[in-house]
């Protein structure tokens, strides 16, 4: 057994090294294609070195897009979190209400099914018209994108409560309210968290689109504006920042989920 464990550890180290080499090759090829061979001009594909330089430069400089990297990040976070929190705060209770009260279900579900198939991005022009190009429109767009997965998952979560559990609680004299709060909602929590995770992903993705089409600050705007300025290095910096922040969000949500969801399977 001990020998087996040692061998397993050896394998782990071996494949770890392979992974590191693979990453090095990736960056090496990128460097080779750009800085050494110049297959594409700098304004189309920057070398990794240029990207790192642009990153440090962008930490302090506002040129050419009007804000430092920190400024863009803050602007994007403000929009994303406003819309996302609104979507979750309204979407989850609505999903729960739809699943718990039959009449709400019968009335709201057709309306929801009417609106749901329209991709969030298609809402952008309408939202701009209604709310202007400030925080309002973008938050409203993110709201739509976060709202839908929250509703669907909260709904599915409550619906998967086993009737037996509800019967047992009923037999022991639980009120309808207690049944909802002590049986149905805890059952639904893992799926509600799945909804939160999915909607965070879509919200973050929609944010880029919203900022590309109408904005004067934010990471999506940075991507869009630097295309017209042909500053590909700054585009890559913005893309990577978006990726990193998205990852941080996911990790944070996972931690929250571990804390709040007791037992049960995930997803």
């Amino acid at each position: 057994m001990n020998e087996y464990a040692i061998q397993k550890r050896k394998e782990k180290i071996k494949f770890g090294i392979v992974s590191v080499i693979s990453l090095c090759v990736f960056f090496g090829v990128w460097y080779l294609c750009t800085a050494v061979l110049h297959l594409k001009p700098d304004y189309v594909l920057p070398s990794p070195v240029q990207v790192v330089e642009a990153f440090f430069e962008k930490l302090t400089q506002t040129a050419p897009d009007g804000a430092t990297l920190g400024g863009h990040i803050l602007a994007s976070l403000q929009v994303a979190l406003t819309g996302y929190l609104l979507g979750a705060v309204i979407g989850i209770p609505l999903g729960i209400a739809m699943a718990w009260f039959r009449k709400v279900d019968m009335f709201v579900t057709p309306l929801f099914d009417l609106i749901r198939p329209v991709p969030t991005i298609a809402w952008i022009p309408l939202m701009i018209l209604w709310f202007g190009i400030g925080l309002g429109a973008k938050a409203a767009i993110i709201f739509v994108s976060a709202f839908v997965p929250c509703v669907i998952n909260a709904y599915a979560g409550i619906k998967q409560t086993k009737p037996v559990h509800l019967w047992v609680s009923q037999t022991f004299g639980a009120s309808r309210r207690e049944m909802l709060f002590t049986v149905a909602i805890p059952t639904a929590l893992p799926l509600i968290f799945t909804g939160l995770r999915i909607s965070l992903g879509t919200a973050w993705m929609t944010l880029c689109a919203a900022e590309m089409l109408a904005s004067n600050r934010g990471l999506g705007y940075m991507i869009q504006l630097n295309r017209t300025l042909a500053r590909a290095d700054l585009i890559v910096v913005a893309m990577l920042t978006i990726g990193v922040i998205g990852t941080i969000f996911t990790v944070g949500l996972d931690a929250l989920e571990k804390k709040f969801v007791k037992g049960g399977r995930r997803g």
């Binding site: 590191v20 990453l23 880029c208 991507i223 869009q224 990577l240």
Partner: protein, 259 residues
């Protein structure tokens, strides 16, 4: 009893939809909203007339076909690459060690964030649209194929091996069938992400397609056109999802994942 419930449901659904249109009509005739937003009748009229009056260079069906072609080309190519890569990562530790770090590095970047770079690289022609739709589909398919192949019950593989099945047969008759449902789940999501990506790409730079249509409506303050575009896009998105579900039922009837 069942019929009574069905009847009740229909009544509620009709009431809800009637309520929606009445509210829309009311808001756009009697309140300040009418300054900016067209009513349901105008939108319906334009929707009907757009089938024979061209918008820009094409009638509405033409724009739809353009968008659909972009989605289908990008989606199919990305799906094939994604399935191969995902299954390779799920079954071979070498492939996993080589590709996973790069995949994990690029995965969190949303497809829409690629638009600028792809346009700089490939111009605003068709290629960049195919690639954007492909990026939209690729991550979902790969991830699902990967977890699907990884989670194949080891007992099944061991059992097949013990009974003398060749490695090739194990792959084609055990691993592949048991991760198909998960791959399909990924393809469902991927198709709708692709559909969203093509809209974004067309809104940023294109001369035709559904995304161009709503962007054009927005630029010329023709909100009726925007709403017609939204309706058509929603309908097609729904149709695509239904189509995928039908194919899934046919192909993996032995193991439909219950959602």
């Amino acid at each position: 009893m069942k019929r009574k419930i069905d009847l009740e449901k229909t009544v509620y659904a009709v009431a809800a939809i009637a309520f929606f249109f009445l509210l829309w009509g009311f808001l756009t005739t009697f309140t300040p909203v009418k300054e900016t937003t067209p009513g349901p009748i105008e939108v319906l009229q334009l929707l009907v007339s757009s089938f024979y009056t061209p918008i820009g260079s094409k009638v509405i069906v033409g724009h739809l076909l353009v968008s659909l072609r972009r989605v289908l080309v990008g989606f199919s190519v990305a799906t094939i690459i994604g399935i191969v890569l995902g299954i390779a990562m799920g079954t071979s530790r070498w492939a996993e060690a080589i590709f996973k770090p790069i995949f994990e590095l690029l995965r969190p970047i949303p497809p829409i964030a690629w638009i600028s770079l792809v346009i700089l690289f490939f111009g605003i022609g068709e290629t960049s649209k195919y690639i954007l739709c492909g990026i939209g589909a690729f991550t979902n398919v790969t991830l699902n194929a990967y977890t699907g192949a990884q989670n194949v019950d080891p007992e099944l593989i061991g059992c097949a091996r013990m009974l003398g099945t060749s490695e090739r047969d194990i792959f084609f008759r055990v691993i592949l069938p048991s991760c198909t449902p998960q791959i399909f789940a990924g393809m469902q999501v991927a198709l709708s992400t692709s559909w969203m990506a093509v809209l974004a790409a067309e809104m940023v730079g294109a001369q035709e397609g559904c995304g161009w249509m709503i962007q054009r409506g927005s630029d010329t303050l023709n909100i009726t056109l925007v709403m017609v575009g939204m309706i058509v896009i929603g309908l097609v998105g729904m149709l695509l999802a239904t189509l995928m579900r039908t194919i899934e039922r046919r192909l993996c009837s032995w193991n439909i994942m219950e959602n």
